[in-house]
């Protein structure tokens, strides 16, 4: 049986599919968030060194991991859009950007909230925090460039090129910031050597999956809005039941 791989690469078909997929990601995300938060607040034991404050980690670590990861996914979709000239890929890239920026922001804020009691300062020019801040700038650049070009096709392609250039730069920036930090004798507090308790690991895993599923659901919902907005002049949109009513 021949599978048409490109069937869902058109906004028309993907719009319906995305609508059907959203509950499959949103509901498990809500359940896992509930479980993860319960475990994080009540089940996971108090840390010997950090006391109660370490619980911030359960939201800080998943958002930090995903923020960097989403930039690469976004750049991947952007590259697909440039190579195959598929409109949907570009729409996906611009749907991912706000979620990626949000996760980066959450990761920075929770980092600051954790840093105050632990390091005694809201902000430390630690290599990871600094590169996270730069990542936020890169997300802002992508969103700002896309927003300031009126013609959607040019906006998609220009932002896509920027995302690709940015993703090539991400490792360079990361390592340069790391070396800069060791040069300037940054903070000496590190996580190395501390083995995590098994409940904490499970909680962290649950929260990571929950964040991931939430992000997918939100991105799908956002891409549906983008499709509606961009294709509003087409016939199939005007025949949709939710548009007609």
């Amino acid at each position: 049986m021949a599978i048409n791989w490109f069937k869902y690469s058109s906004p028309t078909t993907f719009y319906g599919l995305a609508g059907k997929m959203i509950p499959w990601f949103a509901i498990p995300a809500a359940i896992l968030f509930a479980i993860g938060l319960y475990m994080g607040f009540f089940v996971a034991p108090v840390d010997a060194q950090q006391g109660e404050f370490y619980r911030i980690m359960f939201i800080h670590v998943p958002t930090s991991i995903l923020s960097m990861f989403f930039y690469l996914i976004m750049a991947g979709y952007a590259a697909l859009g440039l190579i195959f000239n598929t409109r949907l890929s570009a729409m996906m890239a611009s749907a991912i950007a706000p979620t990626g920026a949000l996760f980066t922001l959450i990761s920075l804020l929770t980092g600051a909230l954790w840093g105050k009691p632990m390091w005694g300062a809201w902000w430390i020019w630690d290599a990871r925090m600094t590169s996270q801040l730069i990542l936020l700038f890169l997300y802002f650049g992508f969103i700002a460039l896309h927003a300031s070009i009126d013609e959607p096709r040019r906006a998609d392609r220009a932002a896509a090129l920027l995302a690709i250039v940015g993703s090539v730069n991400v490792p360079i920036i990361y390592f340069s910031v790391k070396w800069w930090n060791t040069l300037h004798q940054g903070s000496t507090i590190k996580f190395s050597g501390t083995s995590m308790q098994i409940t904490m690991q499970h909680t962290l895993l649950t929260m990571t999956i929950a964040c991931w599923l939430y992000a997918i659901a939100v991105v799908l919902a956002r891409v549906r809005s983008i499709i509606l907005e961009r294709e509003r002049k087409t016939d199939w949109i005007s025949e949709l039941p939710e548009v007609r009513s």
């Binding site: 650049g141 220009a158 090129l161 920027l162 360079i172 920036i173 910031v177």
Partner: protein
């Protein structure tokens, strides 16, 4: 018509842009004056203690160089875009990447090189040692071309947009952070008696990387902006 080689084309574009820049000397000077002014504002802002100024000199000069190169980037393609020359360049049978490289080189000579030459004078205001000044200059010499080249991508992407100047800085400045780090790192290394070889090697590597990829990427960006 004489058959133009790649190198001939490059020289032609550079010469043309330099002539154009010399006809509007005020633009070149404004960038330079901006650089001097930003650097001179720092001691007024943080106080005249020489120990502190000596420590921050390299960082201040580099950040000021970064900002003033952003200032001139908007002009890289805009004049040619407005009078239609850019469109003709894209229709030309010669490689657009080569033309872009020529424009980048000319832009650096007009906006980057003056900063490199001006930097030691400003460094003296911050009481930098002769050795540190030399390292700063070599660092700027290696680094400012990268700023022009990476900046050209941003200039091409924001071509003809409203509020392009601010947007351009927003896009390009994060990408220039590694240059800033290694450029200031070299000065810091020499003042604390460490080897500067690694910093210059990394700056050189970035320069080569930019030299290979940015003209092509900028050409693609121009095609996106012009279609």
């Amino acid at each position: 018509m004489k058959k133009s080689t790649m190198l001939g084309l490059l020289v032609l574009v550079i010469r043309r842009d330099l002539v154009l820049a010399m006809r509007r000397r005020a633009d070149v000077l404004t960038t330079l004056i901006f650089f001097v002014m930003v650097v001179s504002l720092f001691p007024l802002g943080v106080g005249p203690e020489m120990d502190m100024l000596r420590k921050m000199a390299a960082g201040v000069l580099w950040v000021a160089a970064l900002l003033s190169s952003m200032l001139s980037l908007g002009r890289l393609f805009s004049a040619d875009y407005l009078d239609g020359t850019l469109e003709q360049m894209m229709l030309a049978p010669q490689s657009l990447s080569m033309l872009v490289l020529g424009k980048m080189a000319a832009h650096w000579m007009v906006s980057g090189l003056p900063l490199v030459l001006m930097a030691p004078v400003l460094g003296l205001q911050f009481d930098m040692s002769v050795q540190a000044l030399g390292v700063l200059m070599v660092g700027l010499l290696l680094g400012t071309p990268i700023l022009s080249m990476v900046g050209a991508i941003g200039a091409a992407l924001t071509l003809g947009l409203r509020g392009g100047g601010v947007l351009l800085s927003l896009l390009v400045l994060p990408l220039c952070i590694p240059v800033l780090i290694f450029g200031t790192g070299a000065v810091e290394a020499v003042t604390s008696g460490l080897s500067i070889a690694s910093h210059f090697a990394l700056l050189g590597a970035l320069l080569i990387l930019a030299l290979v990829f940015t003209p092509w990427v900028t050409a693609q960006a121009l095609r996106i902006s012009m279609e």
